[in-house]
């Protein structure tokens, strides 16, 4: 079991997976409590536009994915805050629109190939040394921002009006939160894939909520579920040659069912 981590590509996948697991779970905690779960899925589809553009222009998929998903996250937050359009409607527009756009771009590039498949569902072979450096540096920066603004994000998720009247810069922090979610999703496309990162962000938190604990303990339980799923998902992916995102999300779904069974009374 341990020897598989002697391979360098597995070490890279594991380190990247652990970093993504930690930051996506913390982001997911706020996103779920703000009733904004679909944001992750939407931005994941938007990041696919970045991947498609990168294939067309032969540039770096991760950087292009970061740019497109961050710009889309700002647009979504702007429309939600200033134009008072229902958030789920905005997300539906971006989700379908970006999928359509990426299919067109990929068709133009004539590259509907296996490399695109790995961006959709994740691949343990896909994490290069450069990717790992990017995921580590940006991931630690994102984590630091979450630590700094943890209490403000929590207050905003609980009661945005009360947070604002306590001096929390709510509008600014809402933009920051969607930006961080966009960055995390773009970083995740190598290991988990664009179509499955939404599940990794949301399901561990939903599972942890079943234990009916306070916020801090809920985040700790969600981190445990997410990390266990990522590590075991990567091992399964290696042994059975299945896309890593798919195995990770399948394990996390199993954890969700287990947490439902463990907390049946609720």
């Amino acid at each position: 079991m341990i020897e598989i981590f002697e391979y360098e590509f597995m070490q890279r996948a594991l380190i990247a997976g652990v970093i993504i697991s930690i930051i996506s779970t913390i982001a997911g905690s706020f996103v779920v409590l703000k009733r904004y779960s679909l944001l992750a899925d939407t931005l994941a589809h938007v990041s696919l536009v970045g991947v498609a553009l990168a294939i067309l222009l032969e540039s770096s998929p991760v950087y292009m994915a970061i740019i497109t998903s961050v710009v889309a996250s700002w647009l979504i937050e702007y429309l939600r805050s200033y134009h008072k359009i229902y958030s789920d409607s905005i997300l539906a527009i971006f989700l379908s629109g970006s999928l359509a756009l990426s299919v067109i771009i990929v068709s133009v590039a004539n590259e509907f190939n296996s490399s695109l498949f790995s961006y959709l569902f994740g691949s343990i072979l896909a994490v290069s040394s450069d990717d790992l450096v990017l995921i580590s540096v940006v991931g630690i920066f994102v984590l630091a921002l979450f630590v700094i603004f943890f209490r403000s994000f929590f207050f905003m998720a609980f009661d945005e009006d009360a947070a604002q009247t306590s001096g929390v810069p709510v509008q600014w922090l809402n933009f920051l939160l969607v930006t961080l979610v966009a960055v995390i999703i773009a970083l995740s496309i190598r290991v988990v894939g664009t179509l499955l990162i939404g599940a990794l962000m949301v399901i561990p938190v939903i599972s942890a909520l079943r234990f009916k604990k306070g916020f801090f303990n809920t985040v700790v339980i969600a981190l445990f579920i997410s990390l266990t799923s990522v590590v075991s998902g990567l091992i399964i992916s290696y042994h059975y040659s299945i896309p890593s995102g798919a195995t990770i999300v399948t394990v996390v779904l199993g954890m969700f069912i287990a947490s439902m069974l463990l907390n049946r009374r609720g």
């Binding site: 209490r151 609980f158 009661d159 009006d161 009360a162 947070a163 604002q164 306590s166 306070g214 303990n217």
Partner: protein, 262 residues
């Protein structure tokens, strides 16, 4: 032991909230028209009026949560747009007692929120924060519930936790929007006794948006009757007449508990 660092009763009376010629419309509909009033430090006021009459909109505008068309609002002598000392104001919104029962927060975590901002975004837990949280929980009698989830509590307990959160930053003004919705009479009486203590002992200015005017009439120093305009701003015994209440609510009112009949 109980200390809100706010017991300076000898300070001169000055307006903590000044509203001048305020007009608010939502879409094409005028919600509030030409509202002018002042609330002084140490006041205990009630804002009453029919549903949809603009009570909540008025207070949301004062708290910077609602845009307004014209007029001006000043808090502690500073224009709303340049007011920064939000820790001086504690706000318990209308839906506070209807918290999502699944929300993962213990009473202690909720009370701590009130300490997480207003001072610095880069908040670190200090002993004075710990002390403020303990004090607020003791005053609102929720210390024994500190590890319970907020969603598990009764309406009255939840409401006390919410007020403890508002108190934890040592506010000088406490704004409560219909705090007693869904809370039984006995709990309400105890709750109003606590508000009286906060006002009289700790000199906290209290603004209560409410329908239960009869219950608190003895404590309240002034009543704002709001129905699109400010119909009057008077002492309770001058407002609580059948005619006045009929004018405000647009229905025939009948006073039954010893307040003045015209």
């Amino acid at each position: 032991m109980i200390d809100l660092q706010n017991d300076d009763k000898n300070c001169p009376i000055f307006p903590v909230i000044s509203v001048t010629n305020l007009n608010i419309s939502l879409g094409s509909e005028t919600v509030l028209k030409d509202i002018t009033f002042e609330i002084n430090k140490g006041d205990y006021c009630a804002v009453i009026g029919p549903n949809g009459g603009g009570k909540t909109t008025l207070m949301r505008a004062v708290l910077g949560l609602q845009k307004f068309d014209s007029g001006s609002i000043a808090l502690f002598g500073k224009k709303l747009s340049s007011f920064k000392e939000w820790r001086k104001i504690g706000y318990v919104p209308q839906r506070a007692s209807h918290v999502d029962s699944e929300f993962p927060a213990t009473v202690r975590e909720v009370v701590c929120m009130g300490r997480s901002s207003g001072y610095s975004l880069f908040w670190r837990k200090k002993s004075e924060d710990e002390e403020a949280v303990e004090n607020a929980m003791q005053i609102m009698e929720v210390k024994n519930l500190e590890n319970r989830r907020i969603g598990e509590l009764s309406g009255g307990q939840r409401q006390r936790a919410m007020i403890a959160r508002a108190l934890v930053s040592h506010p000088e003004v406490l704004v409560l929007d219909e705090p007693n919705t869904g809370v039984d009479m006995a709990v309400q009486q105890k709750f109003y006794a606590l508000l009286r203590e906060l006002n009289q002992k700790h000199n906290i200015t209290i603004i209560l948006i409410t329908h239960d005017i009869g219950v608190v009439a003895d404590d309240i120093k002034s009543i704002f009757r709001v129905n699109q305009t400010l119909l009057a701003n008077d002492a309770p015994h001058e407002v609580l007449s059948c005619d006045d209440m009929s004018e405000l609510y647009g229905i025939h009112a009948h006073m039954v508990d010893g307040h003045r009949h015209d």
